[in-house]
């Protein structure tokens, strides 16, 4: 294991110490660094909380800030935070308008967020949930409820965060989040494994010339493992899957996120985006918004994912709105 760390057991908490020292825009509650909240909560606004395991920066906590989320419960590496931590975050960010949970479709997180919402309910805090399941590779059409949540959750955060910032009600923000969720599709590909600090060795092994299409962000298996193909062919295969699911007609508009899993250089992500843009052009689909970079990682895993959000006028406005978090900044056009 080649990592900058002290005792692996302290990894997450030392990372959090670094984050709080670097970014006064965020703070924590309940005397627990793993209960992160924005330092400038807006009264009357719908609160948005997320949560999940560490090891995916900027996911999840990185999106706490203006125009995005209000709080995040932080788990150990690839582990769910506790229901208690989620509940503490919920209490802290509720500004009377209720709280929306947006997180990924993993059993540990679901079980804990469910427990947290029961606890919040006892306090009279209204909670709604939106469970990201954008990973096309993880289950077939008709079984979308089994799909994992991966990088596409960024679009859900962005849209719901902007809607909440505009002052809409919990029902409205929840509606927007659900719409963004249902219109987001992601396909990923991994080239190498990550190493969980407390485990100390690669989560899985993969041949020097192999790729795995559809692999999950914790190393969950994908659809096919085969010889690494040229970048264009990799994108073609991934986009075929996405195009097969939703009807992108000429004149439609989309937002595109090309996400690096951690170990892949930014240069390569742009080579991948180039091909995505060619395919969209070929279909007469306009790319209205583009993000290329690391938005949801798996530690040092080499690989990438492509997420497509099928826009309508409302989503176009919301994803284009300004946002300013320690890890994500966007100037409105």
């Amino acid at each position: 294991m080649k990592k900058f760390l002290n005792d692996p057991v302290d990894f997450v908490d030392e990372m959090l110490e670094g984050i709080y020292k670097a970014h006064p825009q965020v703070t924590y509650v309940a005397d627990d660094k793993r209960c992160m909240v924005s330092s400038s909560l807006k009264t009357g606004k719908v609160g948005i909380a997320t949560g999940g395991g560490s090891g995916h920066l900027p996911l999840f906590l990185g999106y706490v800030g203006d125009g995005m989320l209000d709080g995040a419960a932080v788990g150990g590496v690839f582990q769910s935070p506790s229901s208690e931590q989620m509940y503490q975050v919920t209490k802290a960010i509720d500004q009377g308008a209720g709280v929306l949970y947006i997180y990924g479709n993993y059993s540990g997180d679901i079980i804990n967020f469910d427990m947290a919402s029961e606890l919040a309910d006892l306090d009279g805090i209204e909670v709604k949930q939106c469970v990201g399941n954008d990973d096309v590779a993880s289950s077939k059409v008709g079984e979308e409820h089994k799909r994992r949540g991966v990088a596409g959750i960024y679009f859900v955060y962005k849209a719901a965060g902007a809607a909440a910032a505009e002052g809409h009600s919990l029902d409205e923000v929840h509606r927007v989040a659900e719409k963004a969720r249902l219109r987001t599709r992601t396909m990923g590909v991994a080239l190498s494994s990550c190493v969980v600090p407390e485990i100390g060795h690669a989560t899985f092994s993969i041949g020097e010339d192999e790729m795995e299409i559809g692999m999950g962000i914790h190393g969950e298996p994908g659809i096919s493992r085969k010889k690494l193909a040229p970048a264009d062919a990799v994108i073609d295969e991934m986009m075929d899957r996405i195009f097969a699911e939703q009807d992108y007609k000429s004149g439609d508009e989309v937002a595109v996120l090309v996400n690096g899993l951690g170990g892949t250089p930014l240069e390569e992500l742009y080579v991948l985006f180039r091909r995505v843009a060619q395919l969209m052009e070929g279909r007469g689909v306009t790319i209205k918004h583009v993000w290329v970079g690391e938005f949801a990682t798996s530690m040092e895993m080499a690989g990438a994912s492509v997420s497509i959000l099928h826009l309508d006028a409302e989503l176009d406005r919301l994803v284009g709105a300004a946002a300013n978090t320690p890890f994500f900044k966007h100037f409105a056009a």
Binding site: S80, S83, Y106, S107, I111, S139, P221
Partner: protein
């Protein structure tokens, strides 16, 4: 022993703690096959924390309170799927044995029925879904039968542990429906479920403990 009292329970948690310390690497690699390799870490952590918490609380607290402490501690320390499910199991078990001074065969049956039901409700998993529920169900049922038959605790637990082992073996034939393993679909056939392994290990250690 014919029944497990509060002081025994504290030692039992210590035995479970050692068990999962020993099984750490095994569970990591088992969960690694069709999961994310964390199970060995979360189980060793959560049982270590629970063992320390119940020891710190002391036998005077009584069985129900100790189980509640164990569950709450586990929920805090290892909130993974299995961590939260076992925590839920102990919290429900705590409720089911409220007032009991010790756990004989009957109380033990109540304990594991509540444990099973809590986990299955929280996780929305049914028997046959290839989860820990697949071993918890025969454990609970065997203990209910043993209670009806008036069996002594060590024999009842031995029978339940055997049933758990058999049920664990049977998980090999199933396809995972929940958690990270679900993504592997057909590839999970032939593999024993990691969470079910935890359930069988728990029971075997409990049975050994009662037999000693």
């Amino acid at each position: 022993m014919d029944a497990i009292n509060a002081s025994d329970l504290i030692r039992l948690f210590d035995a479970w703690k050692q068990l999962f310390a020993e099984q750490r690497e095994f569970l990591i690699s088992l969960d690694g096959k069709v999961g994310d390799s964390d199970l060995g870490i979360t189980m060793s952590k959560s049982f270590a924390a629970a063992a320390e918490a119940v020891a710190a609380e002391g036998e005077a607290a009584g069985i129900s309170k100790l189980l509640r402490t164990a569950g709450a501690t586990m929920a805090r320390t290892a909130p993974s799927t299995m961590g939260t499910l076992t925590a839920t199991g102990f919290l429900r078990a705590s409720k089911s044995v409220e007032g009991a001074e010790s756990l004989g065969t009957g109380e033990m049956a109540d304990f594991w029925v509540a444990f099973r039901d809590g986990i299955s409700e929280r996780g929305k998993a049914r028997v046959g879904d290839k989860t820990i529920v697949d071993v918890l169900d025969p454990i609970a049922r065997r203990l209910e039968e043993a209670t009806a038959a008036g069996m002594a605790l060590p024999a009842a637990l031995a029978a339940a542990a055997d049933a758990a082992d058999a049920a664990l073996e049977a998980t090999k034939t199933l396809v995972a429906q929940h958690g990270k393993a679900a993504a592997f679909q057909e590839k999970t056939i032939g593999l024993q479920d990691a969470g079910a392994t935890v359930g069988a290990l728990l029971l075997r250690k409990l049975s050994d403990f009662a037999a000693a």
